[in-house]
């Protein structure tokens, strides 16, 4: 005979007629009526205090020049000076890169991109046109155009690009490598092999190590004089070549370390996705005469595409925030070749340049939001709607 209300009730008269409302039951009924609010409020309040207020406050900071004086920070309204400095002022080389005259290649790339964007917008406008969608695509197009402009003024014309370019390098090259190897490993593990559990556990290990540890471990590994691969380097004649001296090798050095840590994340989720493709589909394809590759490309891959797109969205969001590895492996060197935007903002903060630090942080937020939202709308939703 289960007692319906939570009270021990020897004195209860009828079988399940509750006794008169006591303080406790009245409170729990009130709470039950407002249980909806009860569940959501703590999360909303915490996010408001620790994410929204700081977000707005940080925006305010980005429009000021702060100075530390007796009794705390003094703020002086400086309008768009912090932002203007990044794009056109003395910090332009640091954020966008040193601009040099457009090389032939630069012009070619610019022409191709503009044509591509115009065609893409036209194709969209002529089909199912909706204002909201069009404006969204316009913003994405503007960002792509801006980024390609930046790269063609720097990379394609032979001069180094700034922290924006470096961050995009980490995000896109890093995520591409992590996705390719992660998917490859997941595909291998999904074959009919024994020991899948063992590989799943071992491959999870890198995720558990603190990024700082990974950074220093790889700095040791990459040492060409006393690192483990030194004999190999000497044999190849690269004895005195060092990763950190050259811009591109230093960036790859950081992408390798970052990938070593985050490939397991992609691997585990894609393996779960592969294992969840219904057996019938694969068997049906086999009976229909499809070869191994045809089965993967025509049946398995379309099935796991939505999950793959979501995993990549998560990775892109995380990759934009990269700061630990560049900070401790090369401190942003050589020159500013490996400095990510977060690191750029962190260095500004450390030397008490709050205005510039917030400005750069906001530019990072803007680029991340546009990239992630367009990736979400164009890729992730597209795949989910289709499958």
């Amino acid at each position: 005979m289960t007692t319906t209300t939570g009270r021990t009730d020897e004195t209860r008269p009828g079988l399940n007629a509750p006794a008169g409302p006591t303080g406790w039951t009245r409170f729990s009924e009130w709470l039950d009526r407002h249980s909806g609010q009860f569940f959501i409020t703590p999360a909303v309040v915490m996010i408001l205090i620790f994410a929204i207020f700081p977000l707005v406050a940080s925006l305010m900071l980005a429009f000021t020049r702060a100075r530390i004086g007796a009794g705390g920070f003094k703020f002086r309204f400086a309008g768009l000076q912090n932002f203007e400095k990044q794009f056109f002022g003395s910090e332009q080389f640091h954020f966008l890169g040193t601009f040099s005259a457009f090389s032939l290649l630069a012009w070619a790339v610019m022409a191709a991109t503009t044509a591509g964007i115009v065609w893409w917008l036209y194709r969209y406008a002529s089909t199912k046109f909706s204002w909201f969608g069009f404006v969204g695509r316009l913003i994405t197009a503007a960002l792509i155009f801006g980024i390609v402009l930046m790269f063609s003024a720097t990379l394609f014309s032979g001069s180094p690009f700034g922290t924006l370019g470096v961050t995009l390098f980490y995000v896109f090259v890093g995520c591409a490598i992590q996705f390719a190897i992660g998917l490859g490993l997941a595909f291998l593990c999904s074959q009919k092999i024994r020991g899948r559990g063992f590989f799943r556990v071992v491959f999870f290990l890198p995720l558990m190590i603190t990024p700082i540890g990974v950074g220093y471990a790889f700095r040791m590994l990459a040492d060409t004089s006393k690192g483990p691969f030194a004999p190999l380097w000497q044999a190849v004649g690269l004895g005195d070549f060092t990763w950190v001296a050259n811009a591109w090798t230093a960036r790859m050095f950081i992408v390798v370390a970052d990938s070593w840590q985050w490939i397991p994340f992609v691997f585990i989720i894609l393996l779960a996705a592969l294992e969840n493709v219904p057996r019938d589909f694969v068997e049906a394809a086999e009976v229909d005469g499809a070869s191994g590759w045809q089965i993967f490309s025509d049946i398995t891959w379309p099935q796991i595409m939505p999950v793959a797109a979501t995993v990549m969205l998560i990775r892109v969001i995380e990759a934009f925030k990269i700061v630990d590895l560049p900070n401790i492996m090369t401190a942003g060197g050589p020159g500013i070749a490996t400095e990510s935007m977060t690191l750029h903002s962190f260095f500004a903060w450390r030397s008490f340049d709050l205005g510039q630090s917030s400005a750069i942080a906001y530019l990072l937020l803007f680029v991340t939001v546009v990239v992630c939202v367009s990736f979400f709308n164009l890729v992730v939703l597209g795949r989910i709607r289709q499958s």
Binding site: A284, E286, V287, D288, A290, Q294, D298, P302, Q303, S387
Partner: protein, 375 residues
């Protein structure tokens, strides 16, 4: 016997191939300790519609999957036409299969689903287009070619799966309970469609089901399997009217055959108040008498073969099902729909001699004996 080497699935546009014979001999399969298929041997005639019938878990699906090549064969051989298929990969067997779940690729349209087997064979789009439209027409799906599976009803999906099997004009069809996910009315309709189509294409077909009505209506011949062992292989009529053993008798027909367990001594079958003379040498001592409900009639007490007590009478539309009790055994008799009887009344049950079967209770085998005509 030339071994025709098939290195790649035939790319000839699938004209109507001459139907091939499918011979399974001493097929054996066990998953770990469980021996699922015990030396099953069936010889399917070219163009025949053979049904593998049995309760779920009796090994019929495993046998089918072995023919398709989706399960490895432990022992025995499978020969299609003049090619030994035993250890050949599914894609080289020129066999099409319809899955119970239809296995339609959700991200492909109906046309792409049907055309997939041709696409993987590298048949160029033009011919493929045409073959797909033909196959779709045969299953009346030609108007829904650009729909996605999730936009179709159960029946439509089932027909697309069928079309995908037809389109490649395989040497044999394999079907794993394709109708089980449909509602009753649609199932009846699809049964007729399937029967007509197989007859028209004349392709050797092996069909697996646990539904005896499907087996009876579709099959040229039925193979009844229990615990991996072939109980009986014969035409539906043959299997229904003279079951080889107790299992077959009990399995076929619904409501199932009535059984009265009794003993034989000096030529008479005795059980509870039943006492009948038996013609034909019966050596076994424990014998079971079996007769089908539709073969028996309720008569006045003393007039039938034996008397029994009426337990219930259920009006099921076109007939009345009378349930009777003798001792602990219950029996069922189908009577015309306007038949009335009082509960607990004692009545007689009569049935014709050739509708009474005698089985050796221990071995289950049917005895070559009949009830003597004398009351």
């Amino acid at each position: 016997m030339s071994t025709n080497v098939i290195d790649r699935p035939s790319t000839a546009t699938p004209a109507a191939l001459t139907p091939k014979r499918l011979t399974i001999s001493n097929l054996n399969k066990s998953f770990g300790a469980v021996h699922v298929v015990k030396n099953l041997s069936i010889d399917v005639e070219p163009g025949e519609f053979l049904v593998l019938l049995g309760p779920s878990g009796c090994g019929k699906t495993t046998a089918l999957r072995m023919i398709a090549g989706l399960e490895e064969v432990d022992d025995g051989s499978i020969v299609l036409g003049d090619t030994d298929m035993t250890h050949v990969l599914p894609k080289y067997r020129d066999i099409a299969m319809v899955f119970q779940s239809y296995a339609l690729y959700p991200h492909k349209t109906v046309a792409e689903n049907i055309g997939f087997p041709l696409k993987v064979r590298g048949i160029e789009p033009g011919a493929r287009e045409e073959a797909v439209r033909d196959a779709a027409a045969q299953v009346h799906m030609e108007t829904l070619l650009d729909r996605f599976p999730r936009q179709l009803s159960g029946g439509q999906r089932q027909r697309v799966a069928l079309a995908r099997a037809i389109v490649r004009r395989p040497a044999a069809f394999l079907m794993d309970e394709p109708l089980s996910n449909l509602d009753a009315k649609l199932r009846g309709f699809m049964r007729a469609e399937l029967k007509h189509m197989q007859h028209e294409l004349g392709v050797t077909t092996v069909y697996v089901t646990h539904d005896q009505i499907e087996a009876m209506t579709l099959a040229h011949r039925v193979a009844i399997i229990d615990h991996g062992v072939l109980q009986q292989l014969g035409t539906p009529k043959d299997v229904y009217n003279n079951p080889a053993n107790l299992f077959v008798a009990g399995f076929m027909g619904s409501p199932p055959m009535n059984f009265v367990e009794g003993t034989m001594n000096n030529g008479r079958f005795r059980a509870h108040q039943v006492d009948l003379a038996v013609e034909g040498g019966v050596t076994a001592s424990d014998v079971t008498l079996g007769f089908r409900p539709e073969d028996a009639v309720v008569v006045d007490p003393g007039q039938g073969r034996f008397d029994a007590r009426v337990y219930t009478a259920e009006m099921t539309g076109e007939q009345t099902l009378v349930t009777l009790k003798i001792g602990e055994d219950t029996l069922a008799v189908k009577m015309p729909k306007d038949f009335e009887v009082d509960y607990d009344a004692t009545v007689g049950i009569g049935f014709a001699i050739d509708h009474g079967f005698l089985f050796d209770t221990t071995t289950g085998k049917r005895l070559d004996a009949r009830i003597a005509d004398a009351a």
